[in-house]
């Protein structure tokens, strides 16, 4: 897991596949693959066109270039939220100074010098005064955002295309290759820099003493200090590097868009940090990966592209960006230790015992299951199953029969990939939590000696039949008549109640009578909630 040469797996005798699977970047690779598949699935012709792919890679430029610096900085245990504002300020300086007639070489040198001083300053404040980097950079983020407004005078500044400076073109212009000459007609030079800095960053992090020292600084600052490493210097240099890269990225962006406005770079810091972490860099320092950061940036660029291709409305765009970020982290973390055995060991086998030998299963739970980790996996797998079932059935029926489906925020299409799991998890969590609270209140009143965890264990396993929830959800979504929906709900609720009774009896070591009472009380509480909700909604309807 935590090797020093972070991107090479420990046992070099392994095949390429297993090496890949053990590498730090596996999560980001998987996420990219998933997104790639999704993109090809949605609109292969457009998505896979050379121009589009080039566009996607160009779209990584800002995130990746700043991300390389951030990777080094995070490896050494700090981070910097001001990069988005800094990049805007640098672009604004270039644009306004160029507008006033200064020679471009002078401007670029000046801006880079400014960025270096800025990084030095931030580094000094954080290392020498011991200020927390999170807060200092919240401050500088705000300060520089204001400075950007001042520099631009509240306006958008542009670089005129008829007087476009050569140097700026090299930093981020777009090369016109002439139509039909190559697969792509226009090649953004930012791509070259993105890859160049990737190689450079990889070299620095993994092949130089400085990279190792950054890792030690982030890994165990105290120990690193004791071996004579000047950890403060390492951090300051990294603050300077990330500032320089942000300045460079800002100039590249200016060259590409030929404009910089007061809102340029807003929110970039969060995307950069998210990319770096998705790429496998440890948020708390010590380990990181440059290729991972590039892949993380690619995840974001792909997300943007796919969301546009999917033709989502303007409002869902952001919801999905959020879902994709979470999904990417999930993939990144799960890829490290997700095993197929979870399905069999933690789901199927409990399910089997539950249905064939209920009582002894709960006795086993009482004796052998510690905490709620195992039950939670059980619940999660169950929820995933019914979400997937809903998704598939909904899509198939929509395609073949054309029945319209609509349930809360779910409707067929690409967006369902996000909304269905969301709804499924929220619904299940709500059901489980309320039931557990009601039941625990009841058993408490009846004098149990067990704690909430035990009740929760019982409730989670008892809700095993909830895996069939896709049936009523689909029925509602297709607007079937109410009796049918209610019928299906009852069919699911009945076995759950039976299991609740059994689990309460066994887990809380209750008599049958008390167990019945507890479950009865739970039902009453549920009914109260139901009636309350119904009357409240009735007021409107």
């Amino acid at each position: 897991m935590a090797e020093v040469d972070a991107s090479v797996s420990r046992d070099s005798g392994l095949g390429i596949t297993s090496r890949l699977l053990q590498s730090r970047e596996v999560g980001a690779i998987l996420a990219v693959l998933v997104l790639f598949t999704l993109g090809s699935f949605i609109r292969a012709d457009v998505f896979l066109s050379a121009d589009n792919l080039v566009g996607i890679i160009r779209n990584t430029a800002i995130t990746a270039i700043i991300g390389y610096g951030m990777t080094l900085l995070m490896v050494s245990g700090e981070f910097d939220l001001s990069v988005g504002s800094l990049m805007a300020v640098c672009a604004a300086l270039v644009a306004t100074m160029y507008g006033s007639g200064y020679p471009i070489l002078f401007i670029v040198l000046l801006v880079l010098f400014f960025a270096a001083i800025y990084g030095l300053f931030q580094g000094l404040m954080i290392t020498k005064l011991g200020l927390p980097s999170l807060i200092v950079t919240i401050g500088t983020l705000t300060l520089l955002r204001g400075a950007n407004l001042v520099i631009l005078g509240g306006q958008t500044a542009t670089i005129p295309s008829d007087n476009f400076p050569r140097l700026l073109f090299y930093i981020g212009g777009v090369l016109d290759l002439g139509t039909d000459a190559f697969l792509v007609s226009r090649f953004p030079l930012q791509i070259v820099w993105t890859l160049l800095f990737l190689v450079l960053g990889y070299y620095i992090l993994n092949k130089t003493a400085f990279g190792y020292r950054a890792m030690f600084t982030g890994g165990n600052k105290e120990s690193a200090n004791r071996t004579g490493i000047k950890t403060d210097h390492v951090k300051i240099i990294n603050f300077m590097l990330v500032a320089l890269l942000a300045a460079f990225a800002g100039m590249g962006q200016l060259a590409f868009t030929q404009a910089v406005s007061p809102s340029t770079g807003q929110g970039v810091e969060l995307i950069v940090i998210a990319s770096v972490v998705i790429g496998g860099t440890n948020l708390f320092g010590g380990e990181g990966s440059m290729p991972g950061t590039f892949l993380g940036a690619l995840v974001f660029a792909l997300t943007q592209n796919i969301l546009v291709l999917a033709g989502l409305g303007v409002q869902l765009f952001q919801v999905f960006t959020g879902i994709f970020i979470i999904a990417a982290v999930l993939i990144e973390v799960l890829s490290r230790d997700l095993r197929l055995e979870y399905l069999t060991e933690e789901y199927l086998s409990p399910l089997k015992s539950l249905s064939t030998e209920t009582e002894s299963f709960f006795e086993y739970v009482r004796g052998d299951v510690q905490g709620i980790d195992e039950p939670l996996i059980f619940a999660a797998v169950g929820t995933v199953i019914w979400a997937v079932a809903t998704l598939i059935l909904m899509t198939v029926v929509d395609t073949i029969l054309g029945w319209e489906f609509s349930f809360v925020i779910v409707s067929p299409g690409v967006s369902a990939l996000g909304t269905v799991p969301l709804i499924a998890f929220l619904l299940t969590a709500g059901l489980l939590l309320l039931t557990a609270i009601f039941l625990h209140a009841s058993v408490k009143a009846l004098g149990t000696r067990r704690d909430f965890d035990t009740t929760l264990q019982g409730v989670i396993y008892s809700f095993a039949p909830a895996v069939l929830l896709f049936v009523p959800v689909l029925l509602i979504g297709w607007s079937f008549v109410t009796p049918l929906v209610l019928g299906s709900v009852v069919l699911i609720a009945a076995p759950i109640l039976y299991l609740l009774y059994q689990s309460t009896r066994v887990l809380h070591e209750f008599s049958s009578r008390n167990a019945l009472l507890a479950v009865g009380a739970t039902i009453v509480l549920w009914l109260a909630v139901g009636v309350f909700t119904a009357t409240q909604i009735g007021i409107v309807g």
Binding site: M1, A2, E3, V4, D5, R10, Y203, K207, T208, A209, G211, Y212, R213, M215, F216, G219, N220, E222, S223, A224, N225, R226, T227, G228, I229, K230, N282, G286, E287
Partner: protein, 279 residues
């Protein structure tokens, strides 16, 4: 085991500054104090370490042993006091400043800390060479010098082998046993061929067999001309390898004993606990 001829107990050492350094002194500590805020961890300690000896420092918990070591290794600066070290060329005792680990290293002092000071998420080779990463010529000669990873791995295997351990240089330190981790810390201290090696409870984590290996190692170090400062709570180990024993109590140096086979265990414990008071 004992090499000295005389047994002397120097109880009052406050005059140490005046007395001219012995010819065989390699490191001299004069009137050193260390205060942590209001806590006095060391008070006016003066001590000379002789070239090529094994000096053992003993004392009760909290006596100030680790603090003394940290001063010598430059981890924390002394509140007051001076350090002198014999220059290898001119053979004069020269004052040195020990205010950063780098200074101590430059002076040829290497330390194995009580907490081992390893970066646990990194691998063995990286830890062995931490702060002293070997470079080789890189992309364009001297300009982009890069790490010599092969050398690091190969050399750490050797270094660990020399102290009797066989550990994969690519293994993650976190996943090793306490003894193996201690071995890495020792290997790190030895890799730069120091003149003075300080070991703060190096046997605390290792097995009986492992302890014996470390004791053997101390003798080997001495044989190869190094000076060793050795801290332990195991008095038997002290009797086994030390040439001299210094006793710290509540931050003060209360006794210096020559280990000529005549040290009485009771007496030593008495110095440590304060049962034997200074005159």
């Amino acid at each position: 085991m004992s090499k000295a001829d005389e047994s002397t107990v120097t109880s009052d050492l406050s005059a140490a500054t005046e007395q001219p350094a012995d010819d065989d002194t390699i490191l001299s500590v004069r009137n050193v104090s260390k205060h942590y805020g209001g806590v006095v961890a060391l008070e006016d300690v003066s001590l000379s370490i002789k070239e090529n000896e094994v000096l053992s420092i003993v004392g009760d918990n909290g006596a100030g042993k680790s603090t003394f070591i940290k001063l010598l290794s430059g981890v924390i600066p002394a509140t007051s006091g001076e350090f002198y070290m014999r220059d290898p060329e001119s053979h004069d005792l020269e004052q040195i400043v020990l205010e950063s680990p780098a200074m101590a290293k430059r002076a040829g002092i290497e330390t194995v800390f009580q907490d081992m000071s390893l970066s646990f998420q990194h691998d063995v080779a990286a830890n062995v060479f931490m702060g002293r990463e070997p470079l080789k010529d890189g992309l364009s000669g001297k300009l982009f010098r890069r790490l010599d990873r092969e050398y690091m791995e190969q050399r750490s295997i050797e270094a660990l082998d020399e102290i009797g351990f066989e550990i994969d240089p690519n293994a993650i330190t976190e996943e090793l046993s306490g003894g193996q981790q201690q071995a890495i810390a020792v290997a790190r201290a030895l890799i730069s061929d120091p003149r003075v090696v300080i070991l703060d409870e190096p046997t605390a984590e290792v097995s009986v067999e492992g302890s014996q290996k470390i004791l053997d190692l101390i003798e080997e170090l001495q044989a190869s001309g190094k000076t060793v400062i050795f801290i332990t709570h195991n008095l038997q180990e002290v009797f086994d390898v030390a040439d001299r024993v210094a006793v710290l109590r509540s931050g003060s140096l209360v006794a210096e004993l020559e280990n000529d086979g005549t040290i009485d265990r009771e007496e030593l414990v008495g110095h440590m606990t304060g049962a034997i008071q200074q005159e």
